[in-house]
């Protein structure tokens, strides 16, 4: 838990350190505009960036945070909080949908393989799956995004900003599918391996000896015993998804936090970038907590004895 809080602080510190190294600030762009007199620039600077020096700015931002204000975005001319409120749901939808799609497909794949393992095609399926997973992982998410734009029918492009869907009112099926594609092979491999380990346990044979079918044993005994591996994997998936959302949102024009972050960095908008980093770190922390709770709930030994 302490680690996760340290994470937020560390990321914020890095952001501030980088901005300190940057020559120029949010007003650097305006300098290039010959129509704006230097006096105006100086006045603007005095008004919004009265503090010089990183520590002073950091302190100012931190006190603002304490009071519940996230600052003002100079690049977008709006309070940061309202920008986040508008964009965050879009990213959350994308993340949620991609998470569900990726896990559903990976689980289906791994479970089918486990169920058919003993049959005639079991060995073949295993080999083909392995090769398919290896080849699938070689496709970079950015490339899949680009190809998706070409291949997808026009109807699926609804909701993407570049295609006239400015508000994130719809569900980002295409973007989520592209994002999920990146994770399915790795999730399948991990799940298949976890199932394999669980299947090798003696209690599986004991359950079959009681007359249970392979499917019932798989569902009632094997799958629950993979939770210890799969639940942490789930939280790791969220963290990695957050990283890839930036790429997918930028390439497919989904108006979420990732796209916002790229714009913020391009325009050196420090309060906005810091707020996004803060929000994403909070999301990672929340996922960690949920994952710990889930493990506690599903593992009786952890619940009753505190450790395995």
């Amino acid at each position: 838990m302490a680690t996760l809080f340290a994470t937020i602080i560390a990321s914020l510190l890095v952001c501030f350190a980088l901005s300190a190294m940057t020559p120029g600030d949010a007003f650097t762009q305006l300098e290039l505009d010959p129509a704006i007199p230097p006096a105006t620039l100086a006045a603007l600077r005095a008004r919004y960036a009265a503090q010089s020096g990183v520590t002073a700015r950091l302190r100012a931002w931190a006190t603002g945070l304490e009071r519940g204000k996230l600052g003002y975005s100079l690049a977008f001319h709006r309070p940061v909080a309202s920008l986040l409120r508008e964009r965050a749901p879009a990213t959350l939808r994308l993340l949620g949908l991609a998470f569900v799609l990726a896990w559903l497909l990976a689980l289906f794949w791994a479970l089918s393989e486990a169920l058919l393992a003993h049959s005639r095609w079991g060995g073949l399926l295993h080999g083909v799956s392995g090769a398919l997973a290896a080849a699938w992982s070689s496709l970079p998410v950015g490339f899949v995004a680009v190809v998706a734009l070409i291949v997808a029918p026009v109807a699926w492009l609804a909701g993407l900003a570049d295609f006239g869907g400015g508000r994130a009112a719809t569900w980002p099926w295409l973007a989520a599918a592209v994002l999920a594609c990146e994770f399915i092979p790795a999730l399948y491999l991990q799940t298949a391996q976890a199932l394999q380990t669980a299947l090798g346990q003696p209690f599986v044979v004991a359950a079959r000896a009681r007359g249970l079918s392979r499917a019932r044993v798989l569902w009632k005994h094997v799958v629950p015993n993979t939770f210890d591996t799969l639940i942490p994997l789930g939280s790791l998936t969220v963290t990695q998804l957050l990283v890839d959302t930036v790429i997918v949102e930028t390439l497919l024009g989904w108006p979420g936090l990732g796209q916002l972050a790229v714009s913020a960095a391009a325009q050196r908008d420090l309060p906005l970038l810091s707020a996004i980093v803060l929000l994403t770190s909070l999301l990672v922390i929340a996922t960690g907590i949920v994952s710990d709770l889930l493990q506690l709930w599903t593992n009786p030994r952890l619940r009753l004895e505190g450790e395995v």
């Binding site: 994470t7 997973a133 490339f143």
Partner: protein, 282 residues
Amino acid sequence: MLASRRFWAFAAVAAWALLALAGPVFAPYAYNHQDRAAILIAPCRDCAAAAPGTAGGAHWLGTDQFGRDELSRLLVACRVSLLLSLAMAWAALLVALPAALLSVGSAAADGALRWLGELTRSLPWLFMLIAVRAALPLDSPRWVILAVLVALFAAGSWAVPAWVLRGAARDLLRRDFITAARAMGGGRLYLLRRHVLPNLAPLAATYFALLFAAAATVEVSLSLVGLGVPPPLPSWGNMLLPLKDIALASRAWWLYSPLLVLVPVVTCLNLYAFSQARRRTG
């Protein structure tokens, strides 16, 4: 041995490495040589017919939107991506392996490294890359940008291999032959060098392959959002940039050429890594 998957994977990667290192020597054109009369022409043997006014000669893989020969750029890109991915994977492993060994040395180091690993795993290193790239002055030398890529990749990826290697090292140290070596008076450093490292090598090799594969694919995604190898130096990623234009992407099929090399190589690396992993548990 010929039937083993490992052999073929290794052979494929070796062939690609050879192509990458020696290939540019055989490139018919310089990678940034532009022929304005020969823009976006399909692969042709004698291009004088396809593009009047051109200097003639063959373009085996066509030309891109600036009239640069695609084949030559691909050969150079192979070398660039090879070296960059190598550097990224090496950097990550160079942090992971000593970290793992240090953590089996003392409990304090173990705790510290565990904490550090969790921290770096949760940090949004992509945002940091964006921020750093934005912070760098526009005329930064190329090597600075590439160094930043390598450093941030290593920072983001060292944690998982370090954790697994640490686990494997601990298991090794508990084994009987270590006790025997200790009984014979072997000091810690000796044990590490003679017994632990050689036995960790296969696991480290597996992770090297995975990191290499990840580095190559990550570079492509980053280039497509403008954070990869800076043009005009070609890499697999930035050679795919023109495909962001939908019209081009559906028409100029030869521009997909980097995938011809990327997909087989990364697939082979993955197959190698997976077969190692499956053998260990199966």
